[in-house]
């Protein structure tokens, strides 16, 4: 990578006003790319939650055991929400790219091979399609023609939810790639406990697979085990890595050695239980 020519040439003093400082940060902050990707990630997850839970109202998922008239009714109730909401999803799902780039960068900053960063990058770039866009397309087509044969709407309903819940392999292998990188890393980019949390997350991704088999009960796509418990784990995992990535960016020194601790965190980190090698 070419070294920056501007780091030395630009004055280091941001202006006083808040807006001026924001503009200065956007243009000159040495970590602007990292912060940009981080904020895109935060905004993406917020939007994702709002769109899936409140605009389209496809989550929490309805029951796979419903009969056809009920499903048609479900589509009718949400007609506009589905079309508008998934329209916005199509608009914004490109926001995954900076997010995945940041996650890949975290692996690039570790002392491990670049294979990890690139594998993760490609896997997670792929994951948005079965994990989100196929569902959005199926739902959009379902809502497109309310007068369609109800049996076909029923099929689209199954297609949408099963493609959403039932294609966790990319997330499973992706989190395993990430956690192995963290465990091998000597640069202390992430605490080791996050790797173990990643293992918990990977194990819950396995648990969704029975959604392909059951139409009711705890293992169906809306079941207590296949959906609710997983959702709690996934939200925990996501929240944790958002915070940890933020801390990684704060600690970033653009070197290749171990990431330094934050000055004020250094004392508490050595006394506490978090991620310090004995």
């Amino acid at each position: 990578m070419t070294t920056s020519t501007e780091g030395t040439s630009v004055s280091d003093t941001p202006p006083e006003s808040r807006l001026g400082r924001f503009a200065w940060n956007c243009r000159h902050h040495p970590k602007r790319e990292l912060w940009f990707a981080w904020w895109v990630m935060v905004v993406f997850y917020q939007l994702y939650g709002v769109l899936f839970f409140f605009v389209t109202r496809v989550q929490p998922p309805p029951s796979p055991a419903w009969d056809t008239p009920m499903i048609v009714q479900w589509f009718d109730d949400r007609h506009d929400g589905l079309l508008v909401g998934f329209g916005i999803v199509f608009l914004i799902s490109g926001m995954c790219a900076p997010m995945n780039a940041l996650l890949a960068y975290s692996m690039r900053r570790m002392s491990v091979s670049r294979i990890f960063a690139y594998s993760y990058l490609i896997m997670y770039s792929l994951s948005a399609i079965p994990g989100m866009l196929v569902m959005a397309i199926a739902m959009t087509v379902g809502a497109l023609r309310p007068d369609r044969d109800p049996e076909l709407i029923h099929w689209l309903y199954d297609f949408a939810f099963l493609s959403f819940s039932g294609t966790m392999g990319v997330f499973l292998v992706g989190s395993v790639v990430w956690l192995v990188a963290i465990l091998l890393d000597k640069n202390n980019v992430f605490p080791k406990w996050f790797a173990y949390l990643g293992l918990c997350n990977a194990l819950t991704e396995v648990v969704v697979a029975p959604a392909w088999i059951f139409q009711r009960g705890a293992f169906a796509w809306n079941g207590a085990i296949a959906w609710w418990i997983n959702m709690v784990v996934f939200v925990t995992y996501t929240a944790v890595f958002i915070v940890l990535l933020r801390r990684m960016i704060e600690r970033e020194d653009f070197g290749t050695g171990p990431l330094p601790d934050l000055p004020d965190k250094r004392e508490s980190a050595s006394a506490g239980s978090v991620g310090v090698l004995r």
Partner: protein
């Protein structure tokens, strides 16, 4: 448990967390996760008591007891391994690590044999609610055992060469293996004994 007085021990060794403290987060989080699965199981069980009792009769308690004792023994072996490694007796530590893996293999074989037996009796993942939970919990636990083999591989790799031998990694691996053990203790009680 009885607090047998170990005065020398408290004096000679300052208190420490075995292994990476980070692993304890996994232990506690995973325990919570399984508690969630058990709670779902117990609630659905109470809603359909008779079906669960009927299906449960097809499980052989003796097999479960055997499995439990095998895993407890493996847990004991890995505890011995940790002690031996701490005292620097690496050949013994390595031996106990292999014993641990051996018990793990026996566990997996007997588990698979039990599955084959149950499937032969017509009890599959899809046959009824009890067996849904049975196959789900046992196979998820089995995945933990398989990951445990990888962990034990790391432990053995550490113990083999004088250049490595990180006591911390050995203890971390042991903590993981004990987790697999105590999760099984709970699963065993849930599936085989609860009425």
């Amino acid at each position: 448990m009885t607090e047998v007085a170990q005065p020398q021990l408290e004096e000679t060794r300052s208190r420490f967390v075995p292994g990476q403290p980070d692993m304890w987060l996994f232990v506690l989080f995973e325990a919570l996760l399984f508690t969630g699965y058990f709670s779902v199981y117990l609630v659905s069980r109470t809603q359909n008591q008779d079906l669960y009792l009927q299906s449960q009769a097809d499980l052989d308690l003796r097999v479960g007891v055997f499995n439990t004792i095998v895993l407890l023994s493996s847990s004991w072996a890995i505890a011995r391994c940790v002690r031996a490694a701490r005292e620097g007796v690496y050949p013994a530590a390595l031996r106990y690590a292999f014993v641990t893996v051996g018990f793990g293999v026996v566990f997996v074989i007997s588990k698979v044999a039990e599955w084959i037996h149950e499937i032969g009796m017509g009890n599959t993942f899809t046959s009824d609610e009890f067996f849904q939970h049975y196959f789900f919990l046992t196979s998820l636990h089995c995945i933990h055992v398989l990951i445990g083999f990888i962990v034990m591989g790391v432990v053995i790799y550490q113990l083999r060469s004088p250049a490595r031998r990180s006591q911390q990694l050995v203890e971390t691996g042991a903590t993981y293996w004990h987790t697999v053990d105590f999760l099984w203790v709970l699963i065993f009680a849930m599936l085989y004994v609860v009425r």
